[in-house]
Symmetry: C2
Subunit: 228 residues, 2 copies
Amino acid sequence: MDRLMQSIKMDINEKLYVKDPESSTLGKKIVEQGILLIYEIGFECFTFKKLGARIGSNESSIYRYFENKHKFLLYLASWYWGWTEYKLVFATHSISDRNEKLKKALEILAQTVEEDKSFTHVNEVVLNKIVISEYSKSYLTKEVDNENKEGYFTIYKRLVDRLSEMIAAVDPEYPYPLSLSSMVMEGTLHQFFLQEHFPALTSCNDKVTPAEYFVDLIFRTLKTKPNG
Amino acid sequence: MDRLMQSIKMDINEKLYVKDPESSTLGKKIVEQGILLIYEIGFECFTFKKLGARIGSNESSIYRYFENKHKFLLYLASWYWGWTEYKLVFATHSISDRNEKLKKALEILAQTVEEDKSFTHVNEVVLNKIVISEYSKSYLTKEVDNENKEGYFTIYKRLVDRLSEMIAAVDPEYPYPLSLSSMVMEGTLHQFFLQEHFPALTSCNDKVTPAEYFVDLIFRTLKTKPNG
DNA sequence: ATAATATGATAGTAATACTATTAGTTTTGC
DNA sequence: GCAAAACTAATAGTATTACTATCATATTAT
């Protein structure tokens, strides 16, 4: 990635914040340290008060950026999926072979995240860990349907759609491309989680990555055709 | 199921409750109405105070059965997975054909839940909906590792293991039976959730059930051999 | 009939998830 | 260089949550 993305700004739904955190030092600090704090103490124990104390700022100041911690999580998730989408598009764009393209996409989606120096205030490695253990909580709520209408999950949905299209391109006869795609997106996070907390429930380990498992699974499932 | 299970009691980890809710009328009422209340207002908004008000009882009385709502959720989940395990074992026990056995197992795990009159105080249909939208929250916490050690997820893990064994029986060469199994268990809940809240992200609908999708997926993935 | 147990009612605490107000500090526009 | 505008910090306050403790009352067991 390197410098390529330095001038790019994530296109995040404006309703997710009160004031754009990218617009000030304090805002960036909130995002930067918020990620670390959620990672350290978990989303349930995370409060704006604690974050304020950590960054030597005030609870009320944070409320001027985010309505509440739920919106903050949605914001971080959007950031993460926007970043992932960028990586996906960038890496697959120039691949014309449909099978190779899908394989690459799966690898991007299921790979272990590495640090990206393009965004100084976001630690992508830690953000990825948050997404693994907290993302589900952002949609498993009574407000999903409304928040979905508000477009809070747009980027994620677009990703599922992109992958689904690549699946359909490889095997247009396959009847369930959307389910396969959404299963990969969710299943990837789940396999990473199991690897860390329930190793007895996954075949992934030091030697087998979720990416390998999913690439194998998808290509067993689809009937690939030669490109033409 | 019918009467068969009327004398059977779920074998739930004793540390999940302070006093066994099966041992009294109030206890059963807590479970029965707790399920309905969580379904109605969601786990985040659910409190013992509200449940007390609903059953015409007192907050403090409920605390005599469950330490907190998190343990209550773990209890309900254990009940659900115990019930599912029973159905699974019962339905597959007598099937000798390995392929048929696995197919049946997948159907049990991914089928839409129907009412079971065996347990009068538990509405399995509603409990299934709770599991779909709340189960992940029971393990996506900072305390997972400890709670796992305490055995709070034993039944679920046993189920993943059972399915994994059936997968391995069908195709002993398949390298990732555990991941496939845990993916099915989690993916099933997820596909049901998507069907309800993000229909654009799933191929499941009125005509295609998650069970069909997963049966198809697993049998595309595995190399089946004739039994012998 | 008495003791033991279960439940109910009330009160109290610390923390959470905010909102409102005010005051001070920086930034900017001219 | 100065005033206005914007931003941040500090404090206080509210309703709710997630409990714990105590005591009274009701039920059941012996």
